[in-house]
């Protein structure tokens, strides 16, 4: 079965010919005259505004008020939480209402899920999960209909290039920009298909 591989690579090699500049050298000649970021100041405000633009609810709280904010957000009866989520975030939530790393069958019956994140992008209103501690495996944040994400101020990158620099591509990553949506009916964005239809974000910023 390796013949297809050799044939394709052989054809490509014949077409492009010998004597090409080595790829690594040629790569450095690519011009990148674009900006590393589009905004210098007000990055946290921008993140809150852009995330809300896609109909996510955004709350801005002092880190000391986080447990109260989490408790107020969770109005349903039972929520999934991943291992590694800081215990103090859930200090004001009754532990009986929490399911730790539940299986997929149980997930579908829960009211939602609470996680942290790895990085956020202000310019695009995006939150990135790398499914490390406090974020859970990918299914955890996909099957429930409600997702509450806690974002800390230091996690917010101004723009796409800097966010990618902070991420490890060896990990599975999920970029989330607003709740599940579709543009498939007459090319208009409508919220809510298969992923969580409600996305709530708590951004913690230390008060000056």
């Amino acid at each position: 079965m390796s013949s297809a591989r050799e044939e394709i690579l052989g054809r490509v090699g014949r077409i492009l010919g010998p004597g090409r500049t080595p790829a690594a050298t040629a790569y450095t000649a690519i011009e990148r005259p674009y900006l590393r970021r589009h905004h210098e100041d007000g990055v946290l405000d921008l993140f809150a505004e852009r995330t809300a633009d896609y109909r996510a609810t955004v709350h801005r709280v002092d880190p000391a008020d986080l447990p109260g904010a989490v408790a107020r957000a969770l109005t349903g009866s039972r929520y999934a939480v991943p291992g590694g989520l800081p215990a103090e975030w859930l200090a004001e939530v009754d532990p009986a209402r929490l399911a730790h790393d539940p299986g997929i069958g149980e997930l579908d019956g829960l009211d939602g899920v609470v996680t942290g994140c790895a990085v956020a992008i202000a310019e695009t209103g995006t939150i990135v999960l790398d499914h490390g501690p406090g974020q859970g495996r990918r299914a955890l944040t996909l099957v429930p209909d409600y997702h509450l994400i806690v974002v800390t101020a230091d996690q917010v990158a101004p723009d796409v290039p800097e966010a990618l620099e902070r991420l490890d591509p060896a990990r599975p990553l999920t970029f989330i920009s607003g709740p599940s949506a579709t543009s498939d009916i007459e090319l208009n964005r409508v919220e809510g298909v298969h992923g969580p239809r409600t996305l709530e974000v708590i951004l913690t910023v230390r008060s000056p």
Binding site: R137, P169, A170, D184, I185, N188, V190, G192, G195
Partner: protein, 488 residues
Amino acid sequence: MSEHATRDRGRASMPTYLGMPPFPEAAGKAVADTRLRGNLAHATGTIRDRRLSAVAELDDWDALREAGKQIKDHTLEHLDHYLLLLEEKITAAGGTVHWARDAAEANRIVADLVRATGHTEVVKVKSMATQEIGLNEALAEEGITAYETDLAELIVQLGDDRPSHILVPAIHRNRAEIRDIFRSRMPDAPADLSDSPAELAEAARRHLRAKFLSAKVAVSGVNFAVAETGTLVVLESEGNGRMCLTLPETLISVMGIEKVLPTWQDLEVFLQLLPRSSTAERMNPYTSTWTGVTPGDGPRDFHLVLLDNGRTDTLADQVGRQALRCIRCSACLNVCPVYARAGGHAYGSPYPGPIGAILSPQIRGIGSPVDASLPYASSLCGACFEACPVAIDIPEVLVHLRAEAVEEGPKHPLVGTAMAAAGWTLRSPRRLALAQRLASASRRLVGRRGQIRRLPGPLRAWTDSRDAPAPPPESFRAWWKRTNGGRS
């Protein structure tokens, strides 16, 4: 003989939709369908304005576009190097890489992989590559059922229809038609389902949920593949992609060989270019990336099928090669005046619109009347070039392919003869005068709006694909002679 005809063509196949007439004939029918034109005008009009504002928001758009073009050109120039690197990294991360010369080979590989799992159902994320190779039909022949999970693909599949747009395959359907399809073809659709988009989306969510939770095998396409890390990237909106990439035990992804990118950093360009060009969003709701397999999270078995299917032939053409930069955003469809009137089905290919008019004939070769007619499915207005986020000069490739179609496509019966006759006529003032008198006499053929819809006899070949303007009652030369140059 042209260079194109002498070079060794690889094996390529892509469904030419059965019984598909050449573009002018198909477009003629579509243009007469007022509901289709209304649906298309509404949807493309909406997205056109939104795309402009999404693009205008970034004042370095031209710089991003230039970088995107250069990264893609560089990758194509070193395609063998980056494919080998990608294979090495994916293998090291626990995935398996397969190579397919053509559609039949790719379908065979996927069918064998599914059969090896012992399952007979797969869930699918929308993918142009699997449309191109006709995977669903090939799997059906092997007794494997493929369930499309993208909302628009689901509408097309339930309606026993064909996709007509790269991004929104059901763009030719309005909300009322979608409601009717759901009511009649979706077994669990509520009887009182309305045509509100939110309710239609809810019906799709309910319909597919059990399928997702029990699926063991998924098939996806790929938007980008990062060679240096072996990372694959899928952009989507609904979450059906995340479901398919995450919940099943086995994941099989099919990717055209031109989708590879050199580095992780290169994504910083394309994650800005693609969402704004495609759905006019700053970022699409969900983007998933994965590298091989991750123990305890997601599929345990991952396969990537690298597909040639005419891409190396396209690479061999110095002018046509730029079509391989395409990131399938569909901006060129939305801005095209021809697409907005003719719709996607008229192009007779999974790739419609301006990009389809240059991709399909290159992938399939200019052998059939459909493919020979596609390079003419354009007014060369240049809107597609302007909208393209990787600066593919589509008009340039169209003109280049027109030359090839004339050289080696199925011969148009009379255009050559007509041109020779025109040359003969124009070389003699006496013959020209005679011809002009005959033309004026032909005014009885003129239809409404002063256009001639069909010329008589052999001249029909000209009006088969265009209307001819009516000749004036008196030619300039005849008027000049009669009035003594306007003096009498």
